[in-house]
Amino acid sequence: MKNYFIHIDNDFAKAEVFSYGDSISSHHPATDMDEIRSHVDPNSKAVVFLPSNMIRCIYSKKETNESEEQFEARFFSEHEDDLITDVSSNRLIFSEENNLALVVEKSIIDPLNDLLNQIGCDVEIYPEYFLHQALDQDTCLFINGRYSFSFADGSGFCAKKESFNDYLDLVTKERKNFKPIFMAFDGAEASEFKQTDCKEVSLEALHRDFLTAHSKKSNLPSMFESKFNVQGTLRRFNFERRDLIYSFIVISSLLILPLVNIALMQSYKKSYEEKTFSIFTELNPNFRRIVNSRAQMDQLLLAINSNETKPLDLNVLGYLRAIPIDEIASSNIDFDNSNVTLEFDRMSSMKYSIIDNLIEQSNTRVIKNDIENTDGAFSGSLVLEIGSD
C-alpha cells in the first residue's frame, strides 16, 4: 500500500503531493486540487495537511460526565468571541486523548472532504503543524513560504513570511520561555532564528517519521469525514469502464429477463390460441369465437361414434422401437387391448437377458410367461400389457 502526503497551499488552489511506496517515491509540486486524484492510487493511505492558520487549535478539556453535545455547546459558548464566523458555520473536531479541539470553517473543510472522498483512499486531514510536532517542545517549520508553529501544549499555528515578525512578537509575549527548534530544508533561510537552535531536516524524513509514529492507530484528531461517494467507491473497487458496462448488463438482465420471459410466454399462449381458433375455422368456416375450446370440440365429436374414431395410440407405436422385435421370431401387438405377444425361438441367453432388462425397465406388465430355457436357448411366448403412459 502506498502512502501519500498532500500539503494544501494557502489559497486552497494548489497542492503538493508526495508519494511513498515500497521502493519508489515521487513528488508532484503545484498540483491543481482537481488533479490530486490522478496522482493518488486508490486504496492507499493519504495524509492531508491543511495550513495551520486555517484551523483554530484550542487546548480544551471535556468533563467526564459531559456528553459530546454538551461539550460542543459549552466549547462554542466559551470560544464564540474567538471565532470570526458564525458558530454554525464551523466544525469542531475534538480529541479527548490530546485535550485538543480543532475548529475549522465548513466552507473550507466540506469541499475538501467532498474532493477527498472521490479518491477512494483512507484519508486523514490534519493541521500542518502535526507534521513537526515534538513532545514538550516548541518547533517551527518553514514550508512553502509559511512558518508553521507547533507549541508544546499540542496547539499550533502558521504565519506567512510577511507577518512572521509581528506574529513572533505576539507569541513571545504570550508564551514565556518560547524557544522553538527551527526546522528548515532545501536551503530555506533561517535568519529569523539565528539565535536559537536550528535543525536541518528534509520533508521526506518528516513524512517518514510521521508515518512511523502513527503507523498503527493514530490518536490524532482527523478532520476527514468519510461519506459515500460514487466515484470514490468505483475507484476503491478498481472498477473500469468495461466492468461497469458488464455490471450494468448483468443488473439490467436481472430486471429485464423476467419481463421478457413473461412477454414470451404470453406470445406463445396467444400463438396456441390462434392455432386452436384456426382449427375450429378449418372445421367450420362460420366459427366465430372460442368460449371453452374443450367443450366446443366435445360438442363436435358428439356427431361421430367415438368407438370408430379412437385417437391413434402413439404410445403403443413408440413401443415398437423399445423392443428389438427384429430379434424375435414373431410378435403381435393388439392395439385395442394394448397387449404385446412375443414369440422366442431358441434365442441366446445374452439376447434374451437384454430384452428381459428392457421389458423390466419399460412401462409394461407381464401377463403370461411361457418361456422355457433349454440348454441356454430361450423358446416360448411372453404376453405383456403396455401401460397407458
Partner: protein, 156 residues
C-alpha cells in the same frame, strides 16, 4: 424551485440518517413489491400457457379424429381407392410385396420391411390419408426378413 441539496445540508446528521434509512426502506419495499409482482405474473403466464397448450392439443386431437372419420366415411365404399392410396404409401416408403385385402369391417395390409420405423410411418400415413385406425400388428421374422400384417378397422 425547491433546492433539495440545500434542504439536505440544513438537516442535522441524525435527520440525514433517518431520511437515508427511510429512503432505503422505501426502495427495499418497492423492490420486494416489484419482485413479487413479477413472480406472480410469471406464474400466471406459465399457467395460462400450459392451459392454452393443453387446449390446443385436445382440439387438434379432436380435429384429427373428425378429419379421420370424414376420410374413412368417404372411402368406406371405395376399396379400390383405398388400395390405390395404400399402394402409393407403400411405394413411397419402400415397402415390399404389399397385399391389401378386406374382410367385412376390417382391412389387412401385408408387406415386408427392412426397418421397424417403416411400420410406424406406414401406420401414421394410413391413419392420416384414409382415416383408418390400427387394431393389431403381426410381425414375423423369417431368415432376417420381416413380414408384417397390419389390421385396420373400417368405419361402419
Amino acid at each position: 424551485m425547491i433546492d433539495l441539496g440545500k434542504i439536505w445540508l440544513e438537516r442535522s446528521q441524525r435527520e440525514q440518517n433517518l431520511i437515508m434509512l427511510t429512503m432505503i426502506s422505501v426502495c427495499l419495499a418497492l423492490l420486494i413489491l416489484l419482485s413479487s409482482s413479477i413472480l406472480s405474473q410469471t406464474n400466471q403466464s406459465r399457467n395460462q400457457l400450459k392451459k392454452a397448450k393443453q387446449d390446443f392439443e385436445y382440439v387438434k386431437n379432436g380435429a384429427d379424429r373428425l378429419i379421420g372419420f370424414a376420410l374413412a366415411s368417404s372411402l368406406k365404399d371405395q376399396p379400390n381407392e383405398i388400395r390405390r392410396i395404400i399402394n402409393e404409401i407403400a411405394s413411397q416408403n419402400d415397402l415390399g410385396e404389399i397385399e391389401v385385402s378386406f374382410d367385412s369391417d376390417k382391412m389387412f395390409s401385408t408387406f415386408t420391411i427392412d426397418d421397424i420405423d417403416q411400420i410406424i410411418v406406414f401406420i401414421n400415413q394410413v391413419n392420416g390419408k384414409i382415416g383408418l385406425n390400427i387394431r393389431s400388428l403381426d410381425y414375423v421374422n423369417s431368415n432376417k426378413v420381416g413380414s408384417v400384417t397390419v389390421e385396420f378397422e373400417m368405419v361402419n
